[in-house]
């Protein structure tokens, strides 16, 4: 009987299990415990959360494995970690640690300005950010098993995640209206692999799970992203930069399950304390816009 590890089905399978959930950024074992107890479906182990990375400046790299190991020991839910765009050696280290999902992330300083990681040859699954359908399908072409919007991480401002999710969903709706003989032109225009354009048109959704990330700070933000078509939500700085992280974490989890139910959203949004301080996107210089990293 054959037993195959690291196949695309097995990678996408874990992404499917994380649907309808919240993936939270954590920097310590204590935070990981708060996230798990709040109902997070996975945690992202980081040295610093994105808003602090923004403030610190300099080169931001893969988290020290010792921090990731502590977090792995503390929780039973899957643990994700970030590597730099194009830095396949960091990814190899994360895979050797038995990390459950690798985020090839624009939040860290890119290691390669031209090439993303060739992700098919890894056993660990990858998630990658995108701003539009073309970028999503290029990453899936390289082997990504999950796509998330880039949004603008560490800002607490959901506007960019909305822009990116609307762009992806709008393009998919458009694809579904086209004749098959029009899809090669779409492939050319999107700069996306033709076979994946065909598959997306046939399925009417991305060929891998499609999550939201980059600026989600409140239960209402989470509901907004789910209603726009996200299948799960990543929350980075939004939880541990709020005035009451445990309460905010639980509220966002509940908002993702009941994203369609305004009565529930009203109840959980009431008296939450202060959300993280946000940044207006126009105040960021071009070099501060993390979403421009990668292509």
């Amino acid at each position: 009987m054959t037993k195959e590890k690291g196949s695309f089905e097995v990678k996408v399978g874990l992404a499917e299990m994380l649907k309808g959930g919240v993936i939270m950024d954590v920097t310590t074992a204590e935070q990981a415990k708060i996230a798990e107890d709040a109902g997070a479906v996975a945690v992202m182990a980081l040295e610093r959360i994105p808003s602090d990375i923004r403030k610190a400046g300099g080169v931001s790299r893969m988290t020290d494995p010792v921090i990731i190991q502590q977090i792995k020991k503390t929780v039973s839910i899957p643990v994700m970690a970030k590597c730099r765009i194009g830095h396949f050696a960091e990814a190899q280290i994360l895979e050797a640690m038995g990390i459950d999902f690798i985020d090839e992330s624009e939040v860290l300083t890119p290691a390669d300005e031209a090439n993303h990681i060739e992700k098919r040859s890894f056993n660990a699954p990858f998630v990658c950010g995108c701003r539009n359908l073309g970028e999503a399908l290029r990453r899936i072409g390289e082997g990504a098993a999950m796509i998330r919007t880039k949004g603008e991480a560490g800002t607490g401002n959901v506007v960019e995640a909305v822009r990116h999710m609307r762009s992806v969903m709008n393009s998919i709706r458009h694809l579904k209206t086209l004749r098959k003989d029009e899809l090669m032109t779409v492939s050319k225009d999107l700069q996306a692999p033709y076979e994946l354009v065909l598959k997306t048109a046939e399925m009417g959704e991305l060929p891998v799970p499609n999550f939201a990330a980059g600026g989600v700070a409140t239960p209402a933000d989470a509901s907004l992203m789910m209603q726009l078509g996200a299948q799960s939500v990543f929350v980075g700085s939004g939880i541990f930069k709020s005035s009451n992280p445990a309460v905010m974490a639980k509220a966002i989890v509940e908002a993702v399950t009941h994203y369609h139910d305004p009565d529930v959203l009203l109840r959980i949004s009431t008296g939450l304390g202060t959300a993280m301080e946000g940044i207006e996107i126009s105040q960021l210089s071009d070099s501060e816009r993390l979403q421009e990293r990668g292509w």
């Binding site: 089905e9 097995v10 996408v12 399978g13 039973s76 999902f101």
Partner: protein, 223 residues
Amino acid sequence: MRLVSYPIPKDSRNAAGKISKVEQAQKINRLIGILAVQGDYSCHGKIVQHLGLNVRWIKTPGDLVGCSALILPGGESTTMTLLLKKYGLIKPLKDFALSNPVMGTCAGAIMLAKNVYDTRVEPLGIMDITVCRNAYGSQVESFITDLLLPFNGSSVPIKAVFIRAPKIQVESPAIQVLAEYENVPVIVRQDKALALAFHPELTGDDRIHRYFFQQVAGISINT
């Protein structure tokens, strides 16, 4: 490979979230509840809809009204435990599953067990099995394999996807072991309850769901 031919499932309610009287009249015994607090419920929904049955996402206790069978999907069992408690679903699901057909895959199978080797999970206790969560290791140990389904009278194996999979331990003669992998039970049945350690909903092969509806639940489906 993900499902390519099945449409995205829709909850059988109208846009306002109300269950119409017509639906209640026409779709009796054709309504399948799928627990939708978290997990790969949409994958189950696609197959259920493909087999000609109606889908009801279960997020609150009231959603169970009118359903004739229940599916507990894959996901994270610790997260599910927290959410079921929070949403007041433990007792309603337990009561429903004790008197109606139920199928659980992976985390769903864990929730059906009497015992789980992890205090963070509080299972519903429907089947006489003990489950060890995440028994094969982290995601890099997840795998896909060919699995024969002798109970189904078919010589064509199914592609069985094991994702951070649990191991099932049989605790009473009431449990029927329908399939094993490496001498560990991976499909078990107890009367109208069916538990699987893997994910038949991920591959688009509908044979397990057909077996569940026809042989376990006694619900007729599209052939």
